[in-house]
Subunit: 182 residues, 2 copies
């Protein structure tokens, strides 16, 4: 096994821009890996937020969403990409209102994670949103979303029955079940 | 809010190939969304596996890995992409050997999820691997990996302290903590 210690001997040779779009940028990054030139396909992404909204009755506000990239209606936590220069907290408040129609009196950081660190640098900042009240914002252009409030027990069953098939949603719900709101 | 029911009125107009690589393909997909033409950036990916390997002493075999796409050494469950035509189970067995040096007498499906369904179709097939024995395979070219066995309690703390920052790893470990091996 090649140890991670050997990364110190690695050198970046070239970054080649293939595509620069609205959401993602594609680069070919070439490194000298222990004397051999190797090229990696890398997706650059501006980062995103995911929100765990807990309603007054303890239910989690999930959303059902038409996801063109996977050709499915998915069950997910509300989430969305950071706009240029936008702070994660501001983005979380905006996405919560756009996707669920609610705002939160209490909203705080709740960890975060990379979605696919093998080829993409997208980092998802997670927030826990509590003390919700109705305060809708119009949805993002093209988004098709329905609200799906579920109890913690229902959420757990949606995961074990593989009906929730989204990594950030499983990670967020189970963190709340295992660790509470701390 | 635009409901997911309205997706029935949506029509695909065009798929334009931007880049076809080894790991990912980038397409621009244009749809007629309720009378308006809208284009989405979509990453096509051949799918992957993630393995939750449980050692005889109950520890989870995590790996520390140099991840060029995010410029960090991450803590993750063993994982890897499906080769062309490869079955997920065969891929899981291969990746387990390559990344941990162990094979499993018992290995079974354990759910799965999309990594980033907003813009990428990568689906991760998860496997639970038990009854491990030493059986190393050489690593993938360019991979730099160290083994990191942790107890369930240590894994939970690595998550709550935000030292594990990878969605699939958090989802996999917490599913095992919450649901056991069922």
């Amino acid at each position: 096994m090649r140890s991670i210690q050997q990364k110190e001997q690695e050198k970046s040779i070239e970054n080649k821009l293939v595509y620069k779009g609205k959401i993602i940028t594609l680069q070919l990054e070439t490194f000298d890996v222990l004397g051999k030139s190797k090229t990696f396909e890398v997706i650059k992404h501006g980062g995103a937020v995911v929100i765990l909204p807990i309603a007054a009755d303890g239910r989690i506000l999930l959303v059902q969403q038409w996801r063109r990239a996977v050709g499915e209606i998915t069950i997910e936590l509300p989430a969305g990409g950071l706009e240029k220069g936008e702070e994660p907290l501001a983005c979380a408040k905006r996405e919560l209102q756009e996707e669920t129609g609610f705002a939160a009196k209490k909203i705080k950081p709740f960890g975060g994670f990379y979605s696919a660190p093998g080829f993409c640098d997208e980092f998802l900042h997670m927030f826990l949103a509590e003390d919700l009240y109705p305060s809708p914002l119009p949805p993002d252009d093209g988004e098709m979303i329905d609200l799906l409030p579920v109890t913690l027990n229902e959420a757990k069953h949606l995961i074990t029955e593989n009906r929730i098939r989204d990594a950030k949603t499983i990670a967020g719900i189970l963190r709340y079940i295992v660790c509470g709101n701390g």
